[in-house]
């Protein structure tokens, strides 16, 4: 903003730094910068002094030292002799695992609840309203602890399955719900199983190709091919055929009592389940509200126009409302995913070995390297958050481009 008549060109006085709008912004920024540097210096000098006084130093050498503790749930090989860095990697993978699982289930739950809340069925919509309000308004930490208590205090312990007349029995003979976790059958990949998997992947590709062809045929000639059963056939038959021809290379490993615990199958630990469920139902309530708001944001005219074209309500929803609503729903949905990832740090309350519990918990305790551990922890979450926001920005620009 230049004034119309610049008086006294060239004669610069010190007071102009404060009174002249041209220079004042520089003054402010300079002062702000100075204060920032002073603050940093203050904190830095204090840190140096404190560390020197306590005889400590900042060093990341502890990451290479054997961690010394065991972790109960790990997707990668890990033993107590592995380094702290590897323990942190186990934690990162566990964080991503629970975040991913919770994102999937929270989305399903949220979309179902959000759509059901708009249902014309009074009872269902009210029930969903109650679900949303109850889960949104109670802290997620309480949910995690409650569900964990539910797991540990209500489900039977493995010893209840033991004996001639056990107090509990396995569900369908294959699933064991215990207070240490849920045990489910898990495939064992024998020799030749690669072919079965390859066949299955190929048949997925074939199924997609068939559907594309059917759509193309419909558009070109108007001939309507059946879609549901051929797809299913393409998906299942070749794989089954390969499975039996190769002599059943893939078999299921069923959980069974072995010693103190169930052995075999796949164990999903109680902490993981508690965290996963709690994050899903809690965030699902928020997503339900986003979905509802997104659907309601679509003007009634769209629905009415679609109906007047003769579309049935289901197709109105699928073809007209949802595609438009998604544009409104997805940005808050992604920030809910971000919240799930951040809230997964509460794993520490139930003993799930995520990054906060390994690096920020046990490693921090055992090595006493508080500053380094917390710094690395923040760095990890910051990286995740910034990458998710970057994805969101890309999405937002791609959506806004289509707008006219």
């Amino acid at each position: 903003m230049t004034t119309l008549s610049d008086p006294q060109q060239g004669s610069f006085r010190l007071s102009m730094l404060l009174n002249d709008t041209r220079y004042r912004s520089y003054t402010f920024q300079f002062v702000a910068l100075l204060l920032l540097i002073a603050l940093m210096a203050f904190l830095g000098i204090n840190l140096m002094r404190n560390l020197a006084e306590a005889g400590l130093n900042i060093s990341y050498g502890f990451l290479g030292v054997p961690a010394g503790y065991d972790i109960n749930q790990s997707l990668i090989d890990y033993s107590s002799q592995d380094s702290n860095l590897r323990a942190a990697m186990v934690g990162i993978i566990n964080t991503l695992l629970v975040a991913f699982l919770a994102c999937v289930t929270a989305t399903i739950l949220g979309v179902l609840a959000g759509v059901a809340r708009l249902s014309k069925n009074w009872l269902v919509s009210k029930l969903m309203a109650v679900y949303v309000e109850i889960f949104r308004n109670i802290p997620v930490l309480i949910w995690i602890l409650m569900i964990y208590t539910l797991m540990t205090a209500v489900l039977p312990s493995p010893s209840a399955f033991r004996g001639d007349d056990p107090a509990s029995s396995m569900f369908l003979g294959a699933f064991a719900f215990t207070n240490r976790g849920v045990y489910i059958p898990w495939p064992v990949w024998g020799p030749g199983s690669m072919f079965v998997v390859a066949t299955f992947v190929l048949s997925i590709i074939a199924a997609i190709a068939y559907r594309r062809y059917a759509v193309k045929l419909l558009f070109d000639t108007g001939k309507l091919l059946p879609r549901a059963w051929p797809t299913a056939a393409i998906l299942i038959l070749p794989t089954l055929l390969a499975f039996f021809i190769l002599g059943r290379p893939v078999s299921l490993d069923y959980p069974a009592l072995a010693g103190f615990n169930f052995g075999g199958g796949l164990q999903i630990g109680a902490p993981l389940i508690a965290l996963w469920l709690a994050l899903s139902v809690y965030t699902g309530a928020f997503i339900a509200e986003n979905v509802r708001a997104g659907i309601q944001a679509i003007s009634r005219g769209q629905t009415e126009a679609a109906s007047s074209l003769g579309l049935r309500p289901k197709r109105v929803m699928n073809l007209v409302v949802l595609p438009q609503a998604l544009r409104v729903i997805i940005p808050p949905l992604i920030s809910q995913y971000l919240n799930i990832t951040k809230n997964s740090s509460l794993a520490i309350a139930v003993g799930y070995a995520d990054i906060t519990a390994t690096l920020g918990g046990i490693t921090l305790n055992q090595t006493g390297r508080a500053i380094e551990c917390v710094l690395l922890l923040m760095l990890f979450y910051l990286t995740i958050s910034l990458s998710i926001s970057a994805i969101m920005n890309v999405y937002n620009t791609s959506v806004s481009l289509k707008e006219r």
């Binding site: 920024q29 702000a32 204090n46 249902s119 069925n121 930490l141 208590t149 922890l377 910051l382």
Partner: protein, 431 residues
Amino acid sequence: MSDTHAQSVPFVRDTMLPQATPPLTAQGPVKWVRESLFSSIPYTILTLAALYLIYVLLSGFLPWLLGGVWTTSNIRECREVLDGAPGGCFSVLSERWNQLLFGIAYPRDGYWRPTLAFILLFVAVSPVLFSFVPRKLLFLTALYPFIAFWLIWGGSLMVPLAALLSVVAGYLVYSKLVKNNFAVGFFAGIATALVVWILSGFITPSLSGVLALEAVDSRNMGGFMLNMILGVICVSLSLPLGILLALGRQSSLPIIKLICVVFIEFIRGVPLITLLFVANVVLAYFLPPGTNFDLILRVIIMITMFAAAYIAEVIRGGLAALPRGQYEGAESLGLDYAQSMRLIILPQALKISIPGIVNVAVGLFKDTTLVSIISMFDLVGMIRGPILASTDWNGVYWELWGFAALLFFVVCYGISQYSQWLERQLQTDHH
């Protein structure tokens, strides 16, 4: 055959039939039930499933709630009284009531103090929340922090009084000078307040016995009171900080903008629990040697910074939503930056942002339970620690968690209902 024709009498209706009432199945409650519960087969199945779900939930919950025991002194007595009947041991709530609400270390004869402060809170916030409450009550709001501090922390009334005095002095100076220049007024105000506060520091110690309540250390705060204290203090402190950050992020000065963006994005990018770890295990290294902030103060600093970053984003949304004309109008009136923000932009932007701010406040209040992870005895910490660990109540889970959930639900649901009400109020303003 043919003579039937002769017997037929021609008939022409010449009056309208009275309108028949709709059939019983298409009116009143029956119609409602049909349309909203059993309109089609899938809906019927859904309804029945929902009814069954409600039945299962209630048949488990009601006997537990109604058959509960309220007067025993430990879990064994309670189980004896129940004798296998379904029912909750709610006596844990009546026996540990004070611990749940006030923690273990708050003086027993001082429970009325936080209670009174809690009640006064409603009086203090009512003129802010509801426009129909007389504006004059706003002075109560201004007085509230000082009264509440005195009530909860105790000590001599002179200390909060001195603080009040310095704030008033600072405000007087500010209002004298602000007409000329906002910055001068602002800094002069702060300087005056500081000077008065330091001066009063020479007098208050000698008056420490005057109107003194028993002093309580902040680490003795606990239970739900701690959640309330953290929630209220952090939200109120983070508001001004959030406004400043939002203005800084919208500012045209690149360095200030950069500082604010980095701060906001950093805080929003990490979970609160890591910030609490910082408060708990790291912050002490960054303070001058020998400084001894107590934990609650460090936690307040961290939660305030956390909330400020979120509130800043909400307010930024409000600022962005204002039409460009408002900014240009303010400039064309010749107002400088401080004046246009203070008089034109912020009042409108804040009004738009209120629902968002309330949402942040609710989220923050729920997040105060996280302090239990860093071994503070808030409501959740009390339950997980001393109560469930005691021999008397080991094993009483649902009563305690249910109580905690209920308290949070009441507060958070209340606030979110208020927010929705306010949203409706604000909407009508536009029409």
